[in-house]
């Protein structure tokens, strides 16, 4: 059974890394997951979890995963937006945890937009 005392050890480990994670916003990539009623009902929570875990696992210090409300296209939820500095925003629709992992590895890490999941590909 875990106890809160273990947090102390993690804290000490983290303290040494604080400098690494201090990224200035200009160079940070923002991933935003729609988390209103529509998003949650369509399965945004596991998408969110998958993204946060994968970003942590790969130690992507320049990436932040955030939540937002209703983006306004409820039938396409779960929606994930990727905003990288100097690039146009990419909107992924009808996401699930598996697709989320692919977006991290392909788009965030390798810089190739996963076109088949984007809103452009779906709406055609």
């Amino acid at each position: 059974m875990k106890s809160l005392a273990e947090l102390e050890a993690i804290k000490n480990k983290m303290k040494n890394q604080v400098g690494m994670r201090k990224d200035d916003d200009a160079h940070a990539t923002r991933i935003v997951v729609g988390m209103a009623t529509c998003g949650i009902a369509a399965g945004a929570r596991p998408v969110m979890t998958a993204m946060v875990e994968e970003v942590a696992k790969r130690n992507l210090a320049h990436v932040t995963v955030a939540q937002t409300g209703c983006i306004g296209m409820c039938k396409l939820e779960p929606i994930v937006e990727v905003m990288a500095p100097g690039k146009e925003k990419v909107t992924y629709v009808k996401m699930d945890a598996e697709k989320a992992l692919k977006v991290i590895s392909e788009h965030i890490v390798n810089g190739r937009v996963v076109t088949e999941y984007t809103i452009g590909a779906t709406e055609e």
Binding site: K2, L4, L7, I10, T37
Partner: protein
Amino acid sequence: MLEISLHILDVINNSVKAGASLIGVTVCENKKDNVLSVTISDDGCGMDPEFLKTVTDPFRTTRTTRKVGMGLSLFKAAAEATDGSFSITSEKGKGTTVCATFTYNHIDRQPLGDMAETIITVLSGNANIDFLYRHSVDEKEFVLDTREVRQILGDVELSGPEIMLWLTEYINEGLAEISQSV
């Protein structure tokens, strides 16, 4: 919604939008009395009596992107489908409390679902809000108070990924422990 924990996530997001600084989430699985109750309370901006009267109407919402707001109406419908009950009390400037009770063994009661994921999702998205999560199964109780966690962490971010992964395991282990039947 497929899980009660998703309703909880949704209603917590209302509290977040109400500018709460402390949000309480209490889940009581009282198997002896065949009742599952969920209470979410916050110290946010609250509602005036006028708004409160119609707040579970799906056509009542504060959002501006469209004219429907399904969160509370879905939660209410889910509780009432199990012969349960639903209530909201709110005072302008003080905060809001939402309480739903379900008949535990009712065939239409959704599974509670992944509570750890719900709590972690709200924690990681709201670095400045404190949460008091209490979950009991009959006499056993699990409590997570983020104020306590923050005290241990000092100036290390609570919403950091390492902390989130650890807390997920902490909650899952805690819930497994209280769910064990004797």
